[in-house]
């Protein structure tokens, strides 16, 4: 029989939130000026991620965005800074959806 300790504060565990995102769109913002938007297939303890139907966005110093389409990728978790479940909103960021 397993006894679990429950934290007194009701809060979101970050990796649980990412886990809920499996199967949905995820917007990953890297440490540098690169972003990846894809459907999350899974991730590991180091937050390396497998994503599919991926759009890779490279942002130049002047703000210009370059988009590359990729099929299924393994994204190295080393440089992942932020993860946004649901992906960018089309109304706010229409340029990502061309």
């Amino acid at each position: 029989q397993q006894t679990t300790e429950h934290a007194p504060v009701a809060k979101f565990l970050p990796l649980e939130l990412i886990d809920k995102c499996i199967g949905s769109r995820l917007w990953v913002i890297m440490k540098g000026d690169k972003e990846i938007i894809g459907t999350l297939n899974g991730f590991d303890d180091f937050v390396n991620m497998v994503l599919e139907d991926v759009v890779e966005v490279e942002i130049a110093a002047d703000g210009k965005k370059t988009f590359n389409k990729l099929d299924q990728i393994l994204l190295n978790g080393n440089n992942i800074a932020l993860m946004i479940p649901g992906g960018p909103e089309p109304e706010k960021y229409p340029e990502y959806f061309r």
Partner: protein, 106 residues
């Protein structure tokens, strides 16, 4: 009777007590120079964070060290603890004049 199952190291050994920042507006600086501000909704012992209504402060295109007041809205975000360099509460923050200038005395 002693519990023979191994429990491992105690949780929340961090010197930073994020519990007191829960549901407060915090400013997070990341290793690459990114700055974010949002409401702290969750965290773990590795300092992965969940921020709600998060905005990212955009950097000056000429000088990447300088952060402007322009923001872009990101919404609900998870920040990787490995990339966090600073977490501070927004409350009590104010811009001040340079306190390190030595006053000239005549």
């Amino acid at each position: 009777m002693n519990n023979t199952a191994k429990k491992g190291p105690p949780r929340k050994d961090s010197i930073l007590e994020l519990a007191k920042f829960m549901d407060a507006t915090v400013r997070v600086k990341c290793l690459g120079g990114r700055e974010l501000q949002g409401t702290l909704r969750g965290y773990d012992e590795l300092v992965n964070l969940v921020l709600d209504d998060c905005d990212e402060f955009l950097r000056d295109p000429e000088d990447f060290e300088k952060v402007t007041d322009n923001t872009r809205r990101l919404g609900l975000v998870v920040i990787r603890g490995t990339q966090v360099s600073m977490v501070s509460p927004q409350e009590g923050v104010e811009e001040i004049a340079n306190p390190f200038l030595v006053a000239e005395e005549e």
